[in-house]
């Protein structure tokens, strides 16, 4: 809240997603690859099968190039990006879990040194020593995962930590063990699909047995990941589940993401059974790409879901997506948001619209841009929306507009009832000023609702998750600030619409 705000063109969330998703795919391969490479080499030594040894050897090059270079840099990249777009959250996490990260660093050292030694010492040291290095690599990599999982799960389900602020209460939180199971499955999936490519370079006679070997791991990993996923879902807070589960989820896009994740898992399992286990002789690089994309999709879908269901929080029950802490709401309402944010105050000046813009930047820009990702221009109602509502010739448009713009505030109403309460299209054209007042009233009404949501959090104990069921916008942070700041924000948002927004037929945006 009191840091300057960095707004990349595509929105901080999108940038974070780009960095994070690519990182987690590679980093999970790095963990699972450690296991499968060590197993492959062990099998090769015990059975005196040079093909398994070659699979391990070729895969170790992929591991070095992806894991120690891209994985390491993109891992730092997550930190860099998080520091840019959510400094207060990363600061809170580091203050809570600096020792966990330090422990993870120890595992990371072991992992990287072992990876470099493992790759360099092919043909140079004894089989036993080389296997030892391979297995130590896996210990380091898996140790790193189980530590980081505690911090990631904490953000979604801090559990008793909200009450006690004790390290272990937050670390072993309700989704910790489901996360371990889920990610253990995912690391096997990632490793298997990456290693299919080195396996395809084996001589034709050996390829089927290597692909079957990987197929079993991919199938097992997918089933384990599925089990972990369902366990993870079951351990989420009811208010979190309501966002994406049930007959009418609050965030349909997240519900769709969940379906996408599960179908991708199903596709991965089917491809493992059919292509790798059933028809390994038919396997080609193009098919391997399809298998990999299915596995990547399921993992990326889960990560998108996990990030999305944290709404409206960065750290559930403690800090909202815009960096506002639950404990700061009262102070912000009393003294003003700009009093808490020196940067916003420095830029605001005296003009109410300028003040409103800074309130927007401070409280809203973590999720909304003006005209890019999650653009306010698309969120704010326009005269065209109203015209669509009252025009009988366009009933489908009317229902869409009602669902997008009206239903949150008028749950007990319908599109046709709403149309009856509005002026006719002709009346709107004749009197655009009244439409301007109407639209402004809608903006102010919504801001009032968002501001009132803060009272629910203030009245809660602060040590338990808040039941957001009755809130008008349960997936959004409350708006905090003085009445003057709320008026300034309304003035700024109304200004964003522009004169065309108040004249039906002009495009409205």
């Amino acid at each position: 809240m009191d840091y300057p705000v960095w707004n990349p063109v595509m929105g901080g969330g999108v940038l974070m997603a780009l960095v994070a998703v690519t990182h987690v795919i590679v980093s999970h391969f790095a963990v699972g690859g450690g296991l499968l490479i060590a197993v492959a080499e062990t099998v090769g030594v015990r059975r005196r099968d040079p093909e398994y040894r070659e699979l391990a050897r070729r895969s170790s090059l992929v591991l070095i190039l992806f894991s120690t270079v891209f994985g390491a840099i993109s891992g730092v990249g997550i930190w860099v990006t998080a520091g840019l777009i959510a400094p207060a959250a990363i600061s809170a996490l580091i203050h809570t879990y600096v020792w966990a990260w330090a422990v993870e660093w120890v595992f990371f050292i072991l992992e990287i040194v072992a990876a470099l030694v493992y790759y360099t010492t092919w043909d140079r040291i004894s089989k036993g020593a080389h296997l030892l290095v391979g297995w130590l690599y896996f210990v380091g990599a898996y140790g790193s995962l189980v530590v980081i999982n505690g911090i990631i799960a904490f953000m979604l389900t801090p559990g008793k930590w909200l009450e006690t602020h004790r390290f272990w209460d937050g670390f072993f939180n309700p989704t910790y063990w489901p996360g371990v199971v889920l990610r253990s499955g995912i690391v096997l999936m990632m490793a298997a699909v990456f290693m299919v490519f080195p396996a395809l370079k084996a001589r034709a006679g050996a390829r089927p047995r290597l692909l079957r070997f990987l197929g079993w791991w991919l199938a097992a990993g997918t089933l384990l990941a599925y089990g972990g996923f369902r366990w993870w879902e079951a351990n989420l807070l009811p208010t979190t589940r309501r966002l994406f589960l049930g007959a009418s989820p609050l965030l349909p896009k997240l519900a769709a993401t969940r379906h996408f994740t599960l179908w991708s898992m199903a596709a991965t399992l089917a491809l493992a059974l059919v292509l790798l286990l059933g028809l390994p002789r038919r396997m080609r690089a193009a098919l391997a790409v399809i298998v990999a994309l299915a596995a990547f999709s399921s993992f990326a879908g889960f990560e998108r879901l996990r990030e999305g269901v944290r709404k409206p929080f960065l750290i559930q029950g403690y800090m909202f997506a815009n960096g506002l802490r639950v404990g700061q709401i009262s102070e912000a309402n009393e003294r003003g948001v700009l009093a808490l944010s020196g940067w916003a105050a420095h830029r605001a000046g005296e003009d109410p619209v300028s003040v409103g813009r800074q309130v927007f930047v401070t409280e809203c820009s973590a999720c909304h841009t003006v005209d890019g990702y999650q653009a306010m221009g698309r969120v704010l109602p326009t005269a065209d929306d109203l015209a669509a509502l009252v025009t009988a010739a366009r009933p489908t448009d009317a229902r869409k507009v009602f669902a997008a713009q009206c239903v949150r505030c008028h749950r007990d109403s319908s599109a046709s009832e709403m149309a009856e309460s509005l002026p006719t299209a002709q009346e709107m054209r004749d009197d655009p000023e009244s439409i301007q007042d109407l639209l402004a009233g809608m903006v102010e009404g919504t801001l009032d609702q968002l501001h009132e949501m803060g009272d629910v959090y203030v009245q809660a104990s602060g040590t338990q998750p808040v039941d957001t069921t009755a809130m008008s916008h349960p997936y959004m942070p409350p708006l905090a600030g003085t009445p003057a700041e709320m008026e300034a924000l309304a003035a700024y948002l109304e200004g964003l619409q522009g004169p065309a927004a108040f004249e039906p037929g002009n495009g409205g945006r």
């Binding site: 140079r124 020196g342 940067w343």
Partner: protein, 368 residues
């Protein structure tokens, strides 16, 4: 100075005393610096040597370049790995300044990742894909060196900006304003020269070890070439160090002069070590293994002393700002103890693994 621009310290207390985090920050930064020096200085040295060799494969300078790149395949990885810890501990102590500086630099700070990625892969391209002779190979190496230099520039910008809240308002409008800081280029040069000198010294030390096993002419050529680089790096380093001090803000300079034994000791050790190094380097025309080992150890000692001084300089820069805040503390000794035990066990495991590898040579059918 715009004091209201400094964010408040985190509401969650530090899980340990400040002195512990300061110790861990300095110690892990020193470890990080060793590999950073190899990665940055080594790649710069390799690029220059490669260009100077004209791409001739048997030229000692070309061999030096290949050897340095072989080392840096690991050096860069370890630089990133060891960099995680100081970044972590620094955020506990100076997060409110660090995050602000990185946000003000925005894409410049994010660009560090891109430069690092390009630099690292260019290094691998040189190592794996390029022909031993010819322009394409040289270009990959030069690209890598330039990228690592860009990373160093960004790091120096962040270091200077986070320590000077008084410059934040200007940086908000124009982030590149940090290039106009009078200490920017001397500070950058200080790090780059230290990195080049250290990596040249490591190359020299390694070449003399290799010379015992044969190929003495090439190895001696490499050692002599690298030795000159060490010497000139030290000469320029001493001159640049004096310039850097003279251009530092008055408050920082007077803090260094009047800081007492805790400040004087590392600074004096660093300067004296630099002067002794210069004398040793000038007096030795043909480097011998024993002498080079001594110089390397002295160089490491001066790096350690300067790492402490660097930390103290930051504290002096931020003296006024940090005096306004109390950082709440609630030590969690149990989990710290777990970290300490695991760190000892982890390092012991790494040492054991390396020992096992070194004592298990094999070839042919017996090899992995």
């Amino acid at each position: 100075m715009l004091p209201n621009l400094i964010p408040a310290p985190d509401a969650i207390p530090m899980p340990g005393p400040a002195w512990l985090f300061q110790f861990l920050l300095v110690f892990t930064f020193f470890l990080h610096l060793i590999f950073v020096n190899l990665a940055l200085g080594g790649t710069l040295l390799a690029a220059v040597a490669r260009v100077a060799s004209g791409g001739r494969a048997h030229d000692p300078r070309s061999v030096l370049a290949s050897r340095m790149v072989a080392i840096n395949g690991y050096g860069v990885s370890l630089a990133i790995t060891t960099g995680v810890a100081p970044l972590l501990f620094m955020q506990v102590l100076y997060g409110q300044y660090f995050y602000t500086a990185t946000i003000l630099l925005g894409w410049i700070w994010f660009g560090l990742l891109v430069a690092l990625m390009i630099g690292y892969y260019a290094l691998y391209l040189y190592k794996f894909r390029s022909a031993p002779e010819g322009a394409p190979a040289t270009l990959w190496l030069v690209l890598s060196a330039l990228m690592f230099l860009a990373v160093a520039m960004v790091q120096v910008m962040v270091s200077l900006l986070h320590a000077q809240p008084g410059r934040w308002a200007a940086a908000m409008e124009r982030p590149w304003v940090m290039l106009a800081d009078p200490t920017f280029f001397p500070r950058l040069a200080h790090f780059v020269l230290a990195a080049v000198g250290f990596s040249a010294l490591v190359v020299c030390w390694w070449a003399l070890r290799q010379a015992r096993r044969g190929g003495a002419a090439v190895e001696t050529g490499i050692a002599a070439y690298a030795w000159k680089w060490v010497m000139w790096a030290i000469v320029l380093q001493i001159a640049d160090g004096a310039l850097l001090m003279s251009l530092s803000p008055h408050g920082v300079l007077s803090g260094l002069m009047r800081g007492g034994a805790a400040v004087h000791l590392p600074l004096t050790l660093g300067i004296v070590a630099g002067l002794v190094l210069l004398v040793l380097l000038v007096r030795v025309r043909t480097p011998a293994p024993g002498r080079v080992t001594a110089v390397l150890l002295l160089y490491l000692a001066s790096m350690a002393a300067m790492t402490v001084t660097r930390h103290q300089v930051r504290a002096l820069y931020l003296r006024e700002a940090t005096a306004r805040f109390q950082l709440p503390q609630a030590p969690e000794w149990g989990i710290f103890l777990l970290f300490a035990v695991l760190l000892a066990a982890g390092l012991a495991t790494v040492a054991w693994m390396v020992h096992r590898v070194l004592t298990s040579p094999a070839a042919g059918e017996d090899a992995a």
